[in-house]
Symmetry: C2
Subunit: 417 residues, 2 copies
């Protein structure tokens, strides 16, 4: 068996430490490295100070075979990554002709003037292998130093992803012989982590030592991740499938999918298979349900549209909710949600209509209907199914949870038809 | 002047290393600690292994005065944080009566049965100060050890936030004397990082040494962060205001707000001030524009609703787009976007209508209209303003960029009225 290749991901930037940007890069990098069998042993973020960068590089050198660095390569003056890499490797900055040609071409193509700051982006540490960035002016760089590989990439997500996919991952695969690690993810909804754990305890205890289980709770669901390590890809795949088959009877009703699937992609697949169309009527979720549904490429095949009814007039005029219903029981009520789901189904001439109405917060609650009170409904033409949710105080969380519960109710209703 | 208090944030969990969950906690923690003048010097993530956890705790001890640990406290078997903390501090696990009462009460209140796994959540390292979690069964813990403060919190975001806000931040403030750090954020849209940097270079060079500038680019905009360090809060505030006043004339047209504002909150403020209502018609953004607008608490005061028209029929029936327009120039065209923006304005009886129509990708592009071709429009009753965007290949990014450009166009049109 080959040795495990260990990686450390280092992000550079005060803005990450201070919480001023959302770091989505390291999650993506984690998935990609895991997929090619490289084990991530540490993720670190440091600020834009030479001392802190040098310190983390020296530490990472002790722990990892690959050190993947993102950030700190933009054109502005607060970027010191390249200079610090020069200090670390004991080399000078050298203007790279390939990199310069790319920067020059980038600006010519767009008819924009090039600044000295832009030109400086073509200066690389002398030991760098230049990795061409097709999407921006910051370079990718590959270094080999004292038996380790160092990679430096810009922090802009789509430039980083392009460089990883097209330049770095192929190089890593050819540089290292990686062991085989396979994952299988079982996606559940509608059952809490501890109840799930009790239910599958004896199966979990009987797992062989080379297969590990982890519970990953998130809004409205728990994902079960099985990780198998070995030497043969097909064997591991078969072993994982066998374990899934063993546990499935105990949790079948809660499993909505596997691996990279999402509730919205699973719902989309069922709708496509059955040649059904969908429309949504949203009050408290404000467009988020439609946004989740349309995040799936190709969703226009089954999704017709949404009416976001943030005012009573829109509920009445666009969805056909009866004014007397709104007057008598209010917008957050079972009768209103029934009319919304059926109303949008008819207005948009869809097979299925789904709807949300509730009090997302932070204001608008009453003793009868506190913040977090939400109705959801699915109308299929045959019947209308409703649920009352009692959620929490946080607006964002209420919007996300409502959406997850509604998509899961839609899934159940489609499968029960 | 007091010494700088240095903090390290440690997250525990294989799922973070492997990229299987999005870590939003450390960004939030970064903001909160920065706001009370604690300087974050490192963020680290390690897996669920005792050795890795011990290693990072020993390292953090060298670097930081406060070590803030999140994750690894759930009820399932893959959690080893508490045991490892016991090893690190040289103490045993002890059942905490307060914590047990809380766990018991939590389950009684919900009428659910308690499992042994749940009961085990009340076992804490003997040297822990128990921090009561009002939102879940995992405890918060505060330790003082060899001149450092250690805090351990659950990884579930709303439980962590509750514990930080109500238990940890007040304790940190009373435990340490922190220096004063103030930030001022200038938010810009519609100008690239390097052009912005050239324009304000002489101002940047003349900044006093205790005020630092950073460029934070994100989708469709660049944020300028000024950070001032000193001893007097009012003096720093005044100095930051003076610097903003100095730079503003050079970038005025691109500045949409300051600090925690967002394009959607700024647009909401302008609409509220002018007592105008807004409606949106969305094709390629699929509800995301409405979702951004309604993420602002209180947006129901000016936002009436949205019609997400993912099919031509919805464009015709709900928005009044002419069938012959769709037939002659297609859905992604200037004429269609004009009719969508004006159509939703009239259909929902709003003062202002905004619209998007484009090819988000990955499929649906043609040689004439490649993926990334997007039209946006703002209709105010007086006039309709349109823009053609030429974006990239990535669906998510196209949806986000379109939304940002549309909200900025709306802001400009409102200010130009």
């Amino acid at each position: 068996m080959t040795n495990t290749i260990r990686a450390e991901v280092v992000t550079i930037g005060d803005e990450i430490l201070f919480g001023q940007i959302t770091d989505t890069n390291t999650q993506w990098i984690g998935t990609e490295l895991t997929n090619i069998g490289i084990r991530i042993v540490r993720k670190s973020s440091v600020g834009d100070q030479a001392k802190a960068i040098l310190e983390v590089l020296h530490e990472a050198h002790q722990r990892a075979d690959v050190i993947l660095i993102t950030g700190g390569l933009g054109p502005t003056k607060d970027d010191i990554t390249k200079k610090t890499l020069c200090d670390y490797f004991g080399v000078n900055l050298v203007r790279n002709p390939e990199a310069l040609a790319l920067v020059t071409g980038f600006f010519e193509k767009r008819g924009r003037e090039m600044t000295d700051l832009n030109r400086g982006q073509a200066d690389l540490p002398a030991n760098a292998v230049y990795l061409q960035n097709d999407w921006g002016t910051a370079p990718g760089m590959w270094f080999e130093h004292e038996g380790r590989v160092y990679v430096s990439l810009p922090g802009v997500p789509f430039e980083m992803k392009h460089l990883m996919t097209n330049r770095v991952l192929p190089r890593l695969l050819s540089h290292f012989q990686t062991p085989i690690i396979r994952h299988k993810m079982i996606l559940t909804a509608g059952i809490g982590e501890s109840f799930l754990a009790e239910r599958i305890a004896s199966w979990e205890d009987s797992l062989p030592p080379h297969i590990r289980l982890a519970y990953l709770p998130s809004f409205g669901g728990v994902r079960l991740r099985l990780t198998a390590t070995g030497v043969d890809n097909d064997t591991l795949g078969r072993e994982l499938d066998e374990q899934v088959a063993l546990v499935l009877p105990q949790i079948q009703q809660h499993v909505y999918g596997y691996d990279d699937e999402t509730l919205e992609s699973v719902v989309g697949r069922i709708l496509t298979e059955r040649q059904l169309t969908l429309a949504t009527a949203e009050s408290c979720t404000g467009g988020y349900v439609a946004s989740r549904i349309t995040s799936v490429p190709g969703s226009s095949a089954y999704f017709l549209g949404s009416i976001v009814s943030y005012s009573n007039e829109v509920k009445i005029n666009q969805l056909g909710v009866k004014p007397e219903t709104l007057q008598q029981v209010g917008a957050v009520s079972e009768e209103t949600i029934r009319q919304m789901a059926e109303g949008v189904r008819q207005a948009l001439q869809a097979n299925v209509g789904i709807a949300t109405s509730g009090i997302a917060g932070p204001d608008g609650g009453t003793p009868d209907k506190p913040v977090g009170t939400v109705w959801i409904a699915v109308a299929t033409g045959q019947r209308i199914t409703t649920r009352l949710l009692k959620l929490g105080q946080y607006r964002d969380q209420n919007i996300q949870l409502t959406t997850t519960y509604l998509l899961n109710l839609l899934r159940e209703e489609l499968l029960n038809q």
